[in-house]
Structure formats: structure tokens, C-alpha cells
Assembly symmetry: D2
């Protein structure tokens, strides 16, 4: 950490800053340039991070420049070889690409069973489906709740596919953890800290979706909340950030994949369905994601999108999902992976 | 709502769309142009909204264009004269500008009492202070929790200032509602729907902060969640959206003030402290907000920012807060309001 | 085009709007709903587009909703089978993926010849290199100008690779057109209309890069400027939009590829070098682009990036470019294309 | 400037970096921490800036952190008391707020004379009007060109108001400089470097508008291009950046005003007309801009917006402009300024 003093900072201000740093048990390293005086701060990175705001609020300080990342457990340096998160028979971060597929919402027994069998046949490795749905409008369908969770369990029994589903608060999460194999934290809740902590205590693998305005650093710090509770089974998911376009719902930030793979040991997957909001563009971006190094995909599939109670416009029908999987297999092999 | 058919849509596809609309109890209005066929959808707006995704997922449909806003209770048309939200002796949406001031976090009895008295003396009308703090890093100070709420109550007893504080989940909210006069929903939780519903049932006025990636429409739909539970006492707060600059933490979207005042009857306030992240820019943007029509401000004030446990760099000290209030008084009068 | 009247619009205002539309030679189609009155505008789309602002400025009008796209010549409907742009022996939009490679700037005879031969050997189909450089700072290296153009011609003679290079104003463009095989319009000049018109009159194929803040529609309208002068040989290039991240320089918007392929008949390529600003992420995004349907790539390659006069941090060295090309070949084949 | 070495950098890599820095005539300052080795680079800031890319491309280097701003002439430190730019009898950066008003385009003799007299009567200090218009679509009205410039001169003769108008390339700029009192560089051309240089050589004051995707730093470096040619009469204009909202055309970044006033000595004005694209929101943001410290405004005014050939929806009519000016006068006085 480097403290940059203002051009007109006084000697007394400089000394006060140095004193604060030493009082915290850190060392200083002074560099007096022609235009600015810099103070290098050396020592425990956790202590430095806690001191940062204080120093920035101190008179005479122009800014504080961070040299190291503020995260620890998620950092690639913590586990250089990478993490493989296993969920039932499926795995994220392994050579094979994980494909989580299924409807936005669990709507009925028939719908979820039919979809589960079809995506399994096409090569999906996990089943998704929402029982508690975060919806922008209070007037939209909000999910079947516990009944939906039971139907997901039945679909798992029928197909063997592990089940991923979302929880929106600590109360729901405890219920979800009883049924699901993996708990999804949605993009809107990426910085819902009580929820992240509860997920960290749940003992279940966590699928953490990036918030639409979240920086890479904020996403990693959200994962750090989960890991800080002792749960290291976290998979990150890029699902589109807020952009200025209106041909797609969000802007898929595919560069987040290689950036995250560089910074963290956690597996990284991509959700092209929510990113685009339009089924027409899902296949192209699914192929792109895997070619670009993603460890998996989260894709919305519905047997009859025009009858879906939510997200119909972005759901692949079974025929399109089959087609995507065939093309995906070829791309995955081209980059040395499989499905 | 207008359904735009694809150029190559067949007659059968057109009829299927028309049938779906009629099955939902709505009327259609066909317009066959040289380049596209349009179907106007006439009838209950709620039914139309629910049908929108379905239509967009139907073969032959290019897109569905919404003509009306998807919100109802928050709409200006619902209460053209505007809403005044009263909290203790203070009011939002009245002629006088409301000023909510106080520290980011309640840190100690001395700190909160000193700040409360000072901001009251300077003309603030409500006291803010966090007891449960959403922090980007799990290693940062997380708040005094219930102890903090009790100190806020003591500060209210001492100064008469009504108290605004944040809750991050339903469990916290019930506790906060016992102590606070107004419940804050933070930007990171703007789309935490279980929390919004709980706030709607709390019987307390709600201060709803706009999420960093939230559109105006999403903010209004979040308020609609609260109002849909019967709680009409909602104040909206613009606090900066995610932008590409790095001289301020967020990009304050001040045009949201006149836009919201046009679209909704709810009061609108501005938080220049979180928007900028730097105390140096707070005063200018506070004056700008009030000149631009904001009904109030949310400002972080700390008696000793360099010792603050959170948000020191963006907190005004007491001297700067006094100066801001003096200048604010003049600006408020210039636009026909007061403090 | 649909004109939406305000809820309180008077009959006289409605009639005035209808009159204006008819005066322009267009027909109207009235739809009186319970909440709004809509006026469908039917007729020549060019006339409608010109009338749009006028209608939106007319009293009683809430907004004007456009149904059709405002572009014509670039539209997929204009040439449904797609356009192949041929430049020397290379082609954009054909089955084979075009790879434009070379240094940011032409720096010396040795540097450009060495790079040209190396990228040719690795499979590149065109050579890039800047003679006139747009640089953010006036103190940075600005290019060799005409001398650079002559070196590019020598490199073409040596390798047979057609040459792509940028012009920043009409004067430069006339000079560039005498030497280069394809003229690049850079992202910063995407809405430099005199330059676009000059490019349209140049008789040379044009590589048009998307501006960092440009919407898909603005990019297509910029291409429309070129085509409107009679030059239909335009290739579009996605090179990253302004986002909020700081791990990459821009945010590569890969969804622009399938969106553009859907909307326009023009070929679409991707520049992962400028998008990321870091060579480390170039390969992953190059593979992703081709898997996602891009017709080609624009990649910065330098024999010795640490001695480059510009863009060293984002340039692949020859070894990394070779590696990328080998992996790209496999991905291109996996999606039914070649190099 | 600080060079941060990678955790696994070798001693040879470290020495190579140090050697490069010394070869450039700069000094180094080594700091070996537990997690990273840092190299402070001390010496001439211009040399450092040129070396930055090279160092970032050197093996073993993780990143290069800049401590100082890359601009010089525009910097507040260059002229701490601030610059007043005088144009005829008007001034930017003085106590009085400058108001540049007029139509988007010069459309006819009657239109520009009528507008000039009206805005003068209402208190405007300069007249704006476009003769060369940058239009997103090639099918829109493109301006009266030299004829428009002559009409502006006539309006100046009639009213005494100095004239501001835009040039889009070097050729136009030379013509514009013969007629206008101040040359506008539009947002789309903010990084058109040949144009900036030509403006720097024109001998006329320059009004430089911020590009929609331009950072504060890029705006200041664009001004540096003009100043580097010896022309120090530059006024900066915030006119909205690309955001994700759709209720306004751009997102007015009002925090740019205090940030720029802090970083540079140049005057800063605001254009609420282009920022919002809707006349309804112009007044609120004009008042906000002046309360927030802007040195002036650029406002579109048209005697009959519904007949305007361009920008009708965002133009104030004369009545609304008069109203705005009256309210503005009060706000300007409240912050210690006048009109």
C-alpha cells in the first residue's frame, strides 16, 4: 500500500500519517520525490486493508494506492492448482465442461420431469429450476416454493441429475439446503451479506452469480464471505453486467472468464440465457464461453417456451438445446475439454 | 402493448398470436403495414404485462413493445399531487428540504450522541447511523447490531431527531422496526424481494435506495413491492450508479431526480456521500441536488472522519457540514423551498 | 412508428398531431385505449424517421415509439444471404475466418517486415500496422506517417498479405487509400461523419471499428454513412465498449457478434487486443469470438513487445501468436469454418 | 510510478527492469516486501509516462501503478488561481455564469435572428447554432454550412452576442474560425486528434465537449492536445455520458464539475440539453449544474421546437428559456455568483 501525500502537505501532516501507520504495527518506507512524497506501507495485508480508509481520510493525504488485492481465500495464490467443486456425480473445474440446464421456474410436475429427462439425454450434468423466484415486478409469478423443491427432488431421483436452485434469504436457504444439491445465490443478492454467510454455513456447494453492477473484485469478495465461514465449495457465474445496449438484456462480460481464472482458483461458469434475455443468441455465446475457458454453463431450457411462466423469451426449447449441445461438444474438444 | 410480427411471419402464426391475446381476455387491433404487421393489444394493463413474455416467446413475433409503464401504485397518475412522508416531526416531499445526517456506522455512545447534537444544531431533520453494516469485505467492521440501535434511540431521546437505519434481512428488519423511525433498504438490497415485502408489512416509513445497476423502472418496481403490501410511506433515494469513472466511487445520476418526480408521486432524495465516496465533492453535489428538485439529502457526518470505523473518506466533519448547511439554506430558498 | 399521446392530451392536440402526419404524406391509424390514445403512423419509413423529432416535440405527445430500425442499406433484409468483402486474396464473411495481424504502429523497416513474415507463416490473412496513430496523450509516439505507409507496401510486396491501416481525417484518408488495401476507421472516429463519407468515396474496403460508447444502432448508422456514398465493402469490428471494470481496458461485448449477424449482412470481426489491453487475455477471447460466430479477428502482434513504441502490453509476441493460431484452427473447424 | 513485480519474478527479471529504468535516465527505489517487490521510479514525469507501456510489457512485471496524473498544462497545479476564458464581451470562469444559448442548427435567417434576440433579452451571454451538424443518421438534416456561418455573423452584428459553433474536421475548422468567436469540438470528436491540433493552432477559444465514453482523464488529455499547440483558451463541457437509462438520452455526470474544478484550472460548463434529450428536464439540471459549481451552461433554445429541423424534443421554447433564466438568476446568487 502506498500513501500519496498532497503537493502542499506539511511536515507535521506527514509525520502524523507515519505515526498512524506505525501505531497499527506496520512499517513505513519514505520516498521523497520532486512532485510528491510517497509512504510505502509494509506489513500484514489484513491490517493494511483495515487502515486504508483511515489514511485516506487523514489531512494531507491525496490518495492511498493499493498494491495487493484485498481478497485472500479466493485468490489463485491460495490454491494455485485450482479447485474442483463436486456436486453429486458432476464436477465444476475439471476437464469436462459442466452443463446446468433446466427451466427458469419449476411450474409443474410434468414440466420439470419432462425437462429433466430431456436435458439429461442431451448431456446436461446438473438440473436447474427455480422454486423461489426473484421477479422485478411484484405482479409476476413468484415460484412454487417448497412444492417446487419437492418436484426437483423427484426429478433428481428420476434422472440422477444433481439439483441447483436459488435461495433469496436465510430462511429460504435453510429450506433449500434440505432439498437441493447446490445452492444458487442470484445476481440481485450477490452482496446480500447475511445470505452469503448463511450459505457459508450450509455445508452445500454454492453457485454465486455476479451482480449486474459488480466489479470482479466485489464478486471475489462476495465469494470470500462464503469461504470465510469455512465453505470452500464455491462456483462463480458470469451472467451479464448492466450495459447500454438494448438488443440484449445485459452485456455478457466474457473477458471476466480469463480474468477470473487468472485471479482465483474457483471454477467459473457462464449463463448466456440471462445475459442476453433472448434464446436466439444463447447458442453463440455458450460456444464462445467454453472456447474462452469457462468451466461450465447455466442454460435455461423449457419444453414449451411460449407457455413458460417466466423467462420464456430466453429459454431454449428441447430441439435448440440438443443442437447447442452437439455444437458445444465439438468446441469443448477443440479446446482440450469434453462434456 | 404492441406486438411486432417478423417480416416473414405466416398467417397461421399471426392468428396464433391473436388467439393467445383473446384467450387472455384482451382485444386486438390489427395494423398491416408494408414492412411489418402490428397487433395492438387493448385491455387491462396487468393482464397485458403478464402476457408479454409469452408473446415474445411465440414463433413469428419479432418483439413486443410496451406502451405503458409496468408500475401502478408508485405512478404519478395514482396520486398526482404527490406524497408527503412524515417521520416524527420531519417530512419528505413537503416544501422544506429534509436533511438526514449522521455517521456511516454507530461506533460508540459518545460518537453518536455528539454527532446527533451537532447535526441537529446545524439544521438536520433526521439522524442516520448504521447498526447492521453491509460491507464489501468480510474483514471490515460490520456494525454494533442491537447495541447500535439502542444508542440511536438514546440519540433520538436526546435530540428529538427521528432515526433512520438500515436492515439487511427480514430478521434484522423486525428488530430494526422496534427501534427506528424509518427503515432503510440499502442499494445492494434494492431487489431483495423478501426484504422489500417485509418492509411493506412493517408499518414503518421506508427509505429505499436505488441499486447501482438499477434502472429507474426497476427502482419504481422495487417501491411497488413495498406499496403492494399496503405501506405507502416510501421515499426514494438516488445514491449513484455504476459508471466508468474512477475519481468518484459511483456516478451520481442527478437526472434521476426530475425524471422520478415526473413519473412518481413519491418523494425523492439524494445521497452525495455514497455517490462520490469523497467528502471533498459532497457539498457541491448536495447543493446541485436541491437546486435540481430533490426533496432531501442523506449525508454522512462524523465528528472525526480519520477515526471513523467506516466511510471516513466520504464523511463531512462538523465544520464542513455546518458550511454545507449554510450554503444549502440559500440554494433551497432560491428554488422556493427552505430547510 | 407509434405516437403515444399524454393521458391529458386534448382533442385539439390530437388533431394537430394527426394533421402533421398527414401533411407529410403519411397515413394514421388511431387507437383509443382506456389509458392512452395511440396513433399508428403508416407509410414511407424514411419520411417517418424525419418526422420523429417533430412529433416528439409537439404538445400533447408523451413519446414516439419506433417500430422499425432506422437503417436501410446495412440491414440484413437488404441482402439476406450476407456480404463477403474481398481484400486482395483475403475475404471477410466467407467460410474461412480472416485473421488481420500485425503491430500497433509501424516502427521501422525491420520491425514491420519481420512481423509480416512471421504472421504470414502462422496463417494470418491480412497485415495491420498503424502509420497515423490516434494516441490519448499528445506526448506519445504518433506514427511514421507516409513513411509508415511505404513500409507497409513493402511488407505486402514481400509477403503478399493485403494491408489494413487507419486514417484519422479526410486528408490522411486520401493518402492512405493510395497505399493500403483496406482503410480502417478507428473507434474514436466512428462518428466522424466527414471521414465516413470520404471513406465511402474512396473505392477501398473499409474496416469500421465500433466506438467505445456506441450502441449497435449507432454502429450500423455509421456503416450506413459509408454505404450511402456507394461503397458497400464494409467490415464491422467489435473492439470493446466502455465498462466499469479495471482488469481489462474495455469490456468486450461479444454478444454484439450474434446480434450484428442477425441485423446486418455485413461481416463482423473482433479485436481482442484493444478490448482487453492485456496480451494475457487475448487468446481466450480470440477463441471465444470465433466460436461465437465472428468472421475474423484483428490482433496486435509484435516481435518484441517490451520494445514496442505503442501497445506493448496488449501485443502478442510471435510465440504466443503461433500458439493462438494453432488453437484457433481447432476451434474454427469445430464450428464448421477454417482459417 | 511504481512497478509491481509478480510474486514469482526472478532476480534476473528484477534487474532487467531496473536496468531499463536507469537506461531511460530515471532513478529506482527498491522495496522488497513479504508478498511483492516494488520498484519506485523517480525522475522526470514525461519520461516516466513514455516508459510505462514498456515496463508493463516486460517479463516479471505484474503491473505499473501511476502515482501522478499524465497531464501537465491542463493541471490545476499549472495555474492554481484558475483560467478565465474571454470571448468577446463574455467570459467563462469568472464570477458571472456564462449562458450559451441558441438553436441546435441554424435553419434560416429569420429563425436565428429571432432566437438570438430572444436569448439576448433573457440574459444569455453567447449565441450557439450549428452550421455543420454531426448527425447519427446520414438521412438527417446536415446543416446549412457556410451559409449558416454567415447568418450567425449577422446575428452577432444584430445582438452583440459572440458566436459559438462546431467544426467537425480541419477543413471546416479553418472556415469556422473565420466567422465564429469560439470553436466547438463536439463530443463525437473529442478524440479526433488532427482536429484538436488544428483547433490549437486556430487562435480562437475552444469549447471542448466531453465524449460520451470519455473518462475525466481522457477529456483532460484532449484539452492538453489543444494547449500543447499553444492555445490556452479552452473551456470544458460535460454533456452526459453513456449510461444504461432510457428516460434520458445520456447520463449527466454532474460530479464531473467539482472533480474537474479540483483537477484543472480550465472553466467547466454543462450542457443539460444533450445530456437529457428532453426539454422537460433541462431546467432542473441547469439549476443543479450552477448550484454544483459550473461556470456556465450550453442550452438549446428554439422559437418553435416542433418545427425544428434537429433536436426539437430537447429545445426549450422562448417562454421556458425565460423561466429557466429567472430561476437560474436566483440560484446563481445563492452560490455567490450572478448571470
Amino acid at each position: 500500500m502506498i500513501v500519496v501525500m498532497e503537493p502542499g502537505a506539511t511536515q507535521a501532516q506527514l509525520e502524523a500519517v507515519v505515526q498512524k501507520i506505525r501505531d497499527a504495527g506496520l512499517n513505513t518506507h519514505l520516498s521523497v520525490g520532486t512532485e510528491r512524497t510517497l509512504i510505502g506501507v509494509v506489513g500484514d495485508s489484513h491490517t493494511k486493508e483495515l487502515l486504508r480508509d483511515t489514511l485516506e481520510a487523514t489531512p494531507g493525504v491525496e490518495k492511498v494506492v493499493r498494491i495487493l488485492q484485498p481478497f485472500k481465500l479466493v485468490s489463485r495464490e491460495f490454491r494455485p492448482s485450482g479447485t474442483v467443486v463436486r456436486v453429486g456425480g458432476a464436477a465444476f473445474g475439471d476437464t469436462a465442461v459442466a452443463v446446468v440446464a433446466g427451466p427458469c421456474s419449476v411450474e409443474s410436475r410434468e414440466q420439470i420431469l419432462q425437462t429433466a429427462e430431456a436435458v439429461k439425454a442431451a448431456g446436461a450434468t446438473l438440473l436447474r429450476g427455480g422454486a423461489f423466484k426473484p421477479r422485478t415486478s411484484p405482479y409476476s409469478f413468484q415460484g412454487l416454493e417448497e412444492e417446487g423443491l419437492k418436484l426437483l427432488v423427484e426429478a433428481r431421483q428420476r434422472t440422477g441429475l444433481p439439483v441447483v436452485t436459488e435461495a433469496m434469504d436465510a430462511h429460504q436457504l435453510r429450506m433449500v439446503a434440505e432439498y437441493a444439491d447446490m445452492i444458487q445465490i442470484g445476481a440481485r443478492n450477490m452482496q446480500n451479506y447475511p445470505l452469503l454467510r448463511e450459505a457459508g454455513r450450509s455445508g452445500k456447494p454454492v453457485l454465486l452469480k455476479r451482480g449486474a453492477a459488480a466489479t470482479i473484485e466485489e464478486l471475489l469478495l462476495a465469494a470470500e464471505y462464503v469461504m470465510n465461514e469455512g465453505n470452500y465449495e464455491v462456483v462463480l457465474c458470469e451472467r451479464g453486467i448492466r450495459g447500454f445496449g438494448n438488443y440484449t438484456r445485459y452485456t455478457l462480460d466474457l473477458s471476466a472468464v480469463p480474468v477470473l481464472k487468472h485471479l482465483t482458483h474457483l471454477p467459473v461458469i457462464v449463463d448466456p440465457s440471462h445475459a442476453t434475455g433472448k434464446w436466439r443468441y444463447v447458442e453463440a455465446l455458450a460456444l464462445a464461453a467454453v472456447a474462452g475457458g469457462a468451466d461450465g454453463l447455466l442454460v435455461e431450457v423449457h419444453p414449451d417456451p411460449e407457455r413458460a411462466l417466466s423467462d420464456g423469451p430466453q429459454s431454449l426449447n428441447l430441439e435448440n438445446f440438443n443442437r447447442m449441445m452437439a455444437r458445444l461438444r465439438a468446441v469443448a474438444q477443440a479446446v482440450g475439454r469434453g462434456l
